[in-house]
Amino acid sequence: MTTLVERIALRRAAEVRRGRPRSLKATVVVYVCVLLFAIWVLLPVWYLVVSSLITVAQLGIKPFPIIPSSITLDNYLSVLTGSNGGKGIGSTDLGSRLLPAIGNSFLVSAVLVVFNLVVAGAAAYAMSRYPFRGGRLFELSVIATRVVPAIAIIGPFFVAFRVLGILNTPLALIISYNVFTLPLAIMILKNYFDQLPRELEEAAKIDGASRLLTLWLIIVPIARPGLVAAGVLIFLEAWSEFFYSLVLTNQLTVTPLLAGFQSVQQFNWNALAAATVMSMIPPVVLVLFFQRHVVGALTAGIGK
């Protein structure tokens, strides 16, 4: 993991080297490829955004307009206020449910991030620095858990949550999502800790600091990039989760709500597009904000 200083040095070196001219042919090739890349990434997104800004009638025009003749914010309004303004079929209270659903998704994901970072962080740190008997076995079983099809094991969860009376609450999701976030967090953090230099801990130990204190006061600040990255990944996984939320709750979070919007009687791709755009914003913004950390921690230790 390069520190800030090293990164600056590298960039400066690269800038110096950039003085070396690239052939015209190569430049053209690169920019054409960049254009293709942009189309690949943006075309579906563009379609989604445009769909959310036009009316139902405009949607029927063939071919689909890349630049629409007129745009409207009605779809966003109808999703936010819950009215089905315009020519749609039937009533929908999607609007009144979307914002609370986004809030619930946030709540569940945020709590999971904190919880997983603490628990997985501790476990990963232990596996890396204080390997215990059975640690190797634990490590292998963590990897093995990635291949368990989540949809198959949901039955026992349902029964347990019903007994506890927490069905259709965020708590049910917070507990059950650990099934896939915890192993992921452990794997990433262990990788990360493995390539964190041990000198600092050694120094602290010599100074007589207790193990727990070392962990808390020294390691955690240094490991911040890795923790942030793991946090982002956990957030994304929790935000994306669909099936568990579908079964264990009544469309409490965003994903089953969007899926339900495609139900039989209520058709309106434009409104659904608006809702989809709104539900894509939080994770995209979050990842963009933290992208440097994410990439760094994901790749830390690989190649060693």
Partner: protein, 304 residues
Amino acid sequence: MAATADLTATLPRADRSFGFRLALPAILILVVLLAIPAILTVIYSMHNVPPSGVSFGAFVGFDNYTLIFSSPVFWRSVSTTAIFAAGFVVFSTLIGLMMALLLNQPFIGRGIARAMLIIPWATPWLVIGILWKWFADGSVGGLNAVLTQLHVIGEYHEFLSDPKLALPLTILATVWRQASFAGILLLAGLQTLPEELSEAAQLDGASVWDRFVHITLPWLRPMLITVIVLNVIYAFLQFDVVFAMTQGGPGDATQVLSILIYRQLFAATHVGVGSALAVVLGVVSLLGGLLVVKLLYRPDVPAT
């Protein structure tokens, strides 16, 4: 991951027990949340569980497995899953690699391009399914609009109702997201590649291709293996996208194993058979991942 087994022996007992205590919460959670339901699933797979779920039902040994392995529906699903997985892994890795190579080149707007790379990855799988279902729609879809305007196809085509094209299209949708994931990881790997290496090779007269094959690829090997193994497992367990896009149809053109599990466990409520299918899928994913590791991993190749 770095080997931890060898350190165990040298660590004092106090340290080992500290490590164990740190990892204990994680161990407990995984045991309760994963191990128990997984074991229950295996038990279910050997019984004829009644839909009401009030009991395990009659013990039938391996009858459910026999039923599965003798069913042509199962084997068609296996081949569909295999094709899906192959397409998914190959194309997301290749396109990801191409994007990483491109984004490693200097050009104007590279920062924005790198941010754009992240967008597909930050999108939840379900949203990918919804988005591509409409993007590929036969009357209002953007894909048709683009292809007809580029004169690639003559008129609007119903991609998702065409049994020959439905599976490629689901592969395309999942690749759209996963290529970004691969791209991010591979780009990070590329950024650690020291420029001096390729510079030296260039001075020696090596062509672009030579440099790619003999320097870039070996450097990226560990990263590529990680990406491929993760993708293989993702591919086998993929559910959300297929569920949102085609539900396994048209006919059984996109009926991958996870959809089959869903149908048996939840639609037909044959819990025993569904659980057996889940066990089979889990084993297949594990074998797939192990196979890839075995084929590609060569620890004797030096990293520098």
